[in-house]
Amino acid sequence: MIEQIPHILVLLGLIVSAILTYYFRDLLAATLAAGLFSFLISLEFYILQAPDVAISQAAIGAGLTTAIFIIAIRATGRFEGESS
C-alpha cells in the first residue's frame, strides 16, 4: 500500500505541471514547468522499473528540450503575444 503513495503523488504532480505549462503567460516560466514535467515523468518511468527509458528521457527532456526552448525564446519574445 505504502509503495503506491509516491506513485500517486508523482502522477498528480504530472497533471499539475502539465496544466501549469498551459497556464503561464511568461514563456520562460512555462519552459521551467515543462522541465518539471520531464523530471517527474523520468521519475515515473523509474518507479515503473524502466531505467533505460528513464535515461533517455533524462537526456532528451532535461538536457535537450530545455536548451532548445530557451534558444527559441531568445530568438522570439519572452512573453506570449509579443514579437521582439
Binding site: A29, L32, F39, G63, T66, A67, I70
Partner: protein, 85 residues
C-alpha cells in the same frame, strides 16, 4: 513494519510537491529556477533510495547521468537569465 526506505521516498515526494508551490508562486524567473533546481536534487536523492528499494544496481547509474544532465540544463537557464547567451 513499514519499510524505512519507502517512507523516506514518500517524504521526498511530498517535498517535491512543496517545492513546486514555489514554482507556481515565484514572482521572478530566478525564483522558479531555484525551485526547479531543488526538485532536481530531490529527484536524484529519491532515485538513489529507490535503487535500494528495487534491489537493482543499474538504477543508481540513472541518478548519476541525471544529475550531470540537469546541471547542464540549469546552467543554460542561468545563462539566459543573465543575458549572456
Amino acid at each position: 513494519m513499514i519499510d524505512a526506505w519507502v517512507l523516506a521516498v514518500l517524504c521526498l515526494t511530498v517535498l517535491m510537491a512543496l517545492a513546486a508551490v514555489r514554482l507556481v508562486l515565484g514572482p521572478t524567473a530566478p525564483d522558479r529556477a531555484i525551485a526547479l533546481d531543488t526538485v532536481n536534487t530531490l529527484v536524484i536523492a529519491s532515485m538513489i533510495l529507490l535503487g535500494v528499494v528495487f534491489k537493482e544496481i543499474i538504477f543508481v547509474d540513472v541518478a548519476i547521468v541525471y544529475g550531470l544532465l540537469s546541471f547542464v540544463s540549469t546552467l543554460y537557464i542561468a545563462k539566459y537569465i543573465g543575458g549572456e547567451l
